[in-house]
């Protein structure tokens, strides 16, 4: 019940395209859903986050869509750029305690 599932495992997108990564969870106690971006040799860094009281949050080219009833949330990267090539992790936490991470999606944006 603590697991967060993430798909796809890897994603290749052309420059300017839309990248979509999906996550699903079971634990209804989760109340904070961040997305982290990790470049090789670096630690994960917060990209964008959402709470379940809203269905969508947009920051620049990055949008989180949240479906509380389906217990799913997704990251959309509009106008994907080669610099977006990284590994993306969704995560969830109940009341700010243990952050549970998905297995990650390796995104490659082709120039």
């Amino acid at each position: 019940q603590q697991q967060v599932k993430q798909s796809p495992q890897s994603l290749i997108v052309q420059k300017g395209g839309i990248s979509i990564i999906n996550c699903a969870y079971e634990n209804t106690a989760f109340d904070y859903f961040p997305w982290y971006q990790q470049f090789p040799g670096k630690g994960p860094a917060l990209l964008i986050a959402i709470r379940p009281d809203v269905s969508e949050k947009k920051e620049g080219r990055f949008t989180i869509s949240f479906n509380k009833s389906a217990k799913q949330f997704s990251l959309h990267i509009m106008d994907s750029q080669p610099g977006d090539s990284a590994t993306y992790f969704c995560a969830a936490t109940p009341r700010g305690q243990n952050f549970v991470f998905g297995p990650g999606t390796r995104l490659s944006v082709l120039p």
């Binding site: 109340d31 961040p34 670096k42 630690g43 994960p44 700010g96 243990n98 991470f101």
Partner: protein
């Protein structure tokens, strides 16, 4: 503002040897986490501290792993004796406080290779 500092960045040891990793969180961050990230996987929580008290160590292999956070600031994670399957990146993260809100900040990690 200085980020989360970790050392060493890289460590190679033989199995059954011991190793220690150090973490200095962002100043004022009460909550500190150690995560294990095996290649190709997401970070997995090992232990969470709130100030100098342990909040969650349910996934810490206590027969070989130990961690402490003296004085509620920096922290040390120790592995003794190391096994081949301990090869991973050990990430330290800190957060302003537990409870609602607060971004999780990660260090760059300590990469351990056990031969």
């Amino acid at each position: 503002e200085a980020g989360v500092a970790q050392s060493p960045r890289y460590k190679i040891i033989e199995k059954r040897q011991s190793v220690a990793f150090w973490c200095n969180p962002i100043s004022g961050h009460a909550t500190l986490y150690w995560y294990q990230q095996i290649l190709g996987q997401g970070p997995k929580l090992l232990i969470q501290f709130q100030n100098n008290g342990v909040v969650d160590d349910s996934q810490l292999p206590k027969d070989r792993f130990s961690a402490e956070r003296l004085k509620g600031v920096d922290s040390t994670l120790k592995i003794q004796p190391a096994k081949l399957e301990d090869s991973a990146v050990y990430l330290c993260a800190s957060r302003l406080a537990g409870g609602l809100g607060g971004e999780l900040f990660f260090g760059e990690g300590s990469r351990l290779t056990v031969l």
